[in-house]
């Protein structure tokens, strides 16, 4: 059964510039929707039972020889296991290399902002947002590793130059991540660090959780390349 046919267990909206975390249970999937278009959902994933095992950008990129994420690709931990699989995607390109913003970048780009003056519309940055949400799980700056940016796209030119592609995600676009382990997901909706928009205009995303069947023998993420077949084998061994 396709995930879209499974009942939603619960859903909520992550407000613009907000942080969020949840333990995605193995056997469930997270759908993230960009309701307005142009969202950026920055995310890092950890093995909830042993968070020193965490999402690893280089292992994800080199095992699949990619610098983008879409349907059929998976997110590897540093231990050769698959944290999440991208089981559906209407966008076609999610950024795994651009990283996140910090306070000085946000201040330089959008000007100073205080809670005193702006209340909850004050400018948030990706690094501090990650650290706050990580802190709730007893994790900290030594656990802050390279992140992915759902809904964003960064192109790389022949000379290595990186450029943000505006309008990558349209209103209603969505991506589905199937949890292959019990995965602590840390998210925030701060703007992409390379977004050229001179105004601080973060967008919301909607998240929903469904129960899904385990990946079958012919699962598209498993058979997309031999590396992923071995990644699923190592992940399944972990639960034996």
């Amino acid at each position: 059964m396709y995930m879209s046919e499974m009942p939603i267990l619960w859903e909520e909206t992550i407000q613009p510039g907000a942080t969020w975390s949840h333990v995605l249970k193995r056997g469930t999937a997270l759908r993230v929707v960009d309701p307005e278009g142009g969202a950026n959902a920055a995310a890092i994933f950890y093995n909830f039972e042993c968070p020193v095992e965490r999402y690893n950008m280089p292992d994800t990129l080199k095992a699949q020889q990619i610098a983008r994420l879409t349907t059929g690709f998976v997110l590897y931990s540093d231990m050769g296991r698959i944290l999440c699989s991208v089981t559906a995607d209407t966008v076609g390109w999610h950024d795994p290399i651009g990283g996140t913003s910090n306070a000085s970048l946000i201040n330089a780009k959008y000007g100073p902002s205080t809670y005193q003056e702006s209340r909850n519309n004050n400018h948030k940055n990706g690094r501090d947002s990650f650290l706050v949400e990580l802190g709730k799980w007893g994790l900290g700056s030594r656990d802050l590793v390279a992140n992915v940016n759902l809904f964003s796209r960064v192109d790389v030119a022949e000379d290595g130059g990186m450029s943000f592609v505006p309008g990558n995600s349209k209103a209603g676009d969505s991506v589905e991540l199937r949890a292959e382990m019990n995965v602590l997901a840390i998210l925030n909706t701060c703007p992409h660090p390379l977004d050229p928009n001179p105004k601080y205009q973060p967008k919301p995303v909607q998240v929903s959780i469904r129960r899904v069947p385990p990946p079958a023998a012919e699962d598209p993420c498993r058979v997309s390349r031999p590396e992923n077949g071995r990644g699923f084998t190592l992940t399944e061994r972990y639960f034996l």
């Binding site: 690893n56 292992d59 990129l61 020889q65 540093d78 050769g80 990283g99 900290g140 000379d159």
Partner: protein
């Protein structure tokens, strides 16, 4: 800047030779293939890595010597310079946005920071489940940080630099491991902008054609700060 000549062969490649003489270095050490190396480099000192035999991957991490939680960040480094390749002029940026070192000379022209380090586990995924026993960079990193102490652990092993490796990304979003562009004697040289701790695994990989299946020694040199 101790530089004498500049030749630009393509936009992202900045070939610059150093004027520093190895005979004046205060520290010289040859790292054999498969060995780790950990060493402090003081603010202002110059640090050179020489690819003695060509196309050797030198997996490298840097830390703020006074706060190891503030460490090299591949994403912050490429984001800040808006280019995925490291070469002369690149500032190696930490997770807090601090410049740890600046590349001041480079006779290779391009270095990778997306390909990461090999591990027993990633070798099993990439090559075969039977490859688990083979020596890998992240074992060297772990051995080194464990011996260094100071509460360093696997949490401090993050996405590294691969000096002398050529890992292009295509406009279609593919990541490829290309033949090396380094040759025997090519080097990269950095100036420390703050006191840093350098951690190297001289890559033992035997499964990847990028080093012609033949890992080889590299030399590291350090010069005193210049006024």
């Amino acid at each position: 800047m101790p530089t004498t000549t500049t030749t630009t062969i393509m936009t992202a490649t900045n070939l610059v030779e150093s004027s520093l003489s190895p005979s004046e270095a205060i520290y010289r050490h040859v790292i054999l293939a498969g060995d780790p190396w950990i060493h402090e480099i003081k603010k202002g000192q110059y640090f050179r890595i020489v690819d003695l035999h060509g196309n050797q991957a030198v997996d490298t991490l840097f830390y703020n010597a006074h706060d190891y939680s503030d460490r090299y960040s591949a994403q912050d480094t490429i984001q800040q310079q808006r280019n995925i390749y490291l070469t002369t002029g690149t500032k190696l940026i930490s997770t807090t946005g601090t410049a740890l070192l600046t590349i001041v000379a480079d006779t290779c022209g391009r270095h990778d920071t997306l390909g990461g380090a090999c591990a027993n586990e990633s070798n099993m995924v990439r090559y075969a489940l039977e490859k688990r026993h083979m020596h890998a960079c992240r074992n060297s990193f772990l051995k080194s940080v464990t011996e260094w102490g100071q509460s360093m652990s696997k949490r401090d092993i993050t996405s590294n630099i691969n000096f002398f490796m050529n890992v292009p990304v295509t406009p279609e979003g593919k990541l490829t491991f290309e033949d090396g562009i380094s040759d025997p004697g090519k080097y990269v040289e950095m100036r420390a902008e703050i006191d840093v701790l350098a951690l190297i695994s001289n890559c033992p990989q035997l499964n990847n054609p990028c080093n012609a299946y033949n890992p080889t020694p590299v030399e590291v040199l350090i010069w005193e700060a210049r006024l």
